[in-house]
């Protein structure tokens, strides 16, 4: 069986016949020899080839595009023109800064908002636990673009949120900080951060919950028996044990948030554009592919470096 699927799988990779599940198990048996040794490679082949062709190879094309120059009419040619990079950084430096700033603030807010909810579901929910978990993922059932548009209604100039904040003079305070302006929330950095926080909150809550849920409750009791106050128990026992969830959650929030352009587009203004907006505009509207490629490369490099450093510092590499 293995032999018969070999040529098919090797020939035309993507949409062709894949080694059937039975093939996998035929090598699963005790029979030693080259057959069994090759089984994992056949199993990995379709997914591996797909990712190699459509995930890894594109980065090489992008790298070559990012050092091209020319125009859409005359065609682009590789000229090892690294000015694409310096130009991108010079023109879109503020976009990069805003992206990482907004994403960092949104990640922090997600942690602050998500932690109590994850904690409550893990320790205080009792028989409501599974219902609450459903409610955490329930927002996903409606397309996130529609939900982001709903924030336009919630934060609208004549809406209740603006009204309350205005009467409490909070908007005056935030506009002094430069977070809002003209007594409105829409088209301000605050609205973009609020949208980012909202959109990626479940990605923070779920890993937090799964690491909190694994904590042995007798550890809480032990801390109490040793006269630890609830806050001390949290600081010395619960929070350290939930760190893997914190690390996973912050990564799952920060990475997509820093590349997002939907919240900035729908809830922000031209002054709140993030790097995603710039890449999208260069790629899809201006059709300046080299600049788009260079920006996308810079974004990728910064994120890879940041993630590596963060994971080293946090000391968790068991995320896969």
């Amino acid at each position: 069986m293995t032999a018969s699927t070999v040529p098919a799988a090797a020939g035309a990779a993507p949409p062709s016949q894949q080694p059937s599940p039975e093939t996998g198990s035929s090598g699963d048996g005790q029979g030693p020899g080259p057959r069994r040794r090759l089984t994992p490679y056949w199993l990995l082949l379709p997914a591996g080839l797909w990712l190699a062709v459509f995930f890894v190879a594109p980065f090489f094309y992008q790298a070559s595009t990012s050092v091209q120059s020319g125009s859409l009419e005359e065609g682009f040619r590789v000229t090892w023109d690294f000015t694409n990079y310096s130009d991108a950084l010079a023109t879109y430096g503020p976009h990069f800064l805003r992206s990482f700033l907004y994403a960092a603030v949104a990640t922090l807010l997600c942690l602050l908002i998500g932690y109590p909810l994850a904690y409550m579901i893990a320790f205080r929910a009792g028989r409501w636990r599974s219902l609450l978990l459903v409610m955490v993922i329930a927002p996903f059932f409606t397309s996130f673009l529609i939900r982001t548009l709903a924030w336009k209604t919630i934060l609208s100039d004549s809406g209740p949120v603006v009204g309350v904040l205005e009467s409490l003079h909070i908007l005056d305070f935030t506009s002094q900080l430069g977070l809002t302006g003209d007594d409105r929330l829409l088209a301000t950095p605050l609205a973009v951060v609020c949208g980012l926080t909202y959109n990626f909150l479940p990605f923070m809550i779920l890993p937090l919950y799964s690491s909190l849920e694994r904590i042995d409750l007798s550890l809480h009791e032990a801390a109490r028996d040793l006269y630890a106050k609830p806050t001390t128990t949290f600081r010395k026992v619960t929070f350290p044990l939930s760190l893997p969830g914190v690390v996973a959650g912050t990564l799952l929030t920060f990475i997509p948030a820093s590349g997002d352009y939907i919240n900035a587009q729908l809830l922000g203004s031209p002054n709140t554009q993030m790097i995603g907006n710039a890449i999208q505009k260069q790629f899809l509207n201006v059709l300046d592919y080299p600049t788009a490629a260079a920006m996308s490369f810079i974004l990728m490099a910064i994120i890879l470096i940041a993630v590596t450093v963060y994971m080293r510092k946090a000391g968790t590499e068991e995320l896969v």
Partner: protein, 273 residues
Amino acid sequence: MAADSPALAPLRWLRRNAVVIAGLASLGYLLLPNVVVMLFSFNKPAGRFNYEWRTFSTDAWTDPCGVADMCGSLGLSLQVALLATLFATAFGTFAAFALARYRFRGKGTGNALIFLPMAMPEVVMGASLGTLFLNTRVAFGFVTILIAHIMFCLSFVVVAVKARVMSMDPRLEEAARDLYAGPVQTFVRVTLPLAAPGIAAGAMLSFALSFDDFIITQFNAGPSTVTFPMFVWGAAQRGVPVQVNVIGTAMFLIAVAIVLGGQITANRRRRAR
């Protein structure tokens, strides 16, 4: 002891339940937009944008496909999501078995290859895949969208299935073999049913991710292939019809009904045992 005085009782109650109150507030923040979407599906807006409340109306609910092209884009999204789920679940399940069950050279590379797409912002993946298609002169359209969706769904299927396979007791399969089940029989009757929850979770995740994807899709769709999220994006610039809210609400209610129904039957079965 001041803390024991009755006047401070509400304060103590507040302190004990602070986590629950904060948690419920977070849940409110999370669910508020869904409530707004639902409410505004009954709105009759004055202009082209459905952002401000005017009067109650069921017009949109009685004519959900009354907007040009919307239901077509919905059909396209469903088609893409189903096909992407099918391929991603199959390929991802194979890969998960390889990574969970075998030791081989290059396993670390395989793990990294699976992990990286999840650690990459969508805009980077979308733009680079779009660059590949541009350079190789592949025409943008249905096929390029499908290729992209299978690509980003794969990793999530692998993670879901791998977690399940790793937690499976290998002795069950050994027992099947001891009882003279052939390799095929062991796989079909023992391994596959045991791995099924993981495979189902991966498939559902793929479907949800594919159906809702906008960023990668926007970079890899032609001008004439408009998925539902792309339709909503376009509508956000031109004017949002109330029907968008109807679709959003209907999707929400159907999904909640399926999940709750599944949980209730699972609970019943557990109790019946």
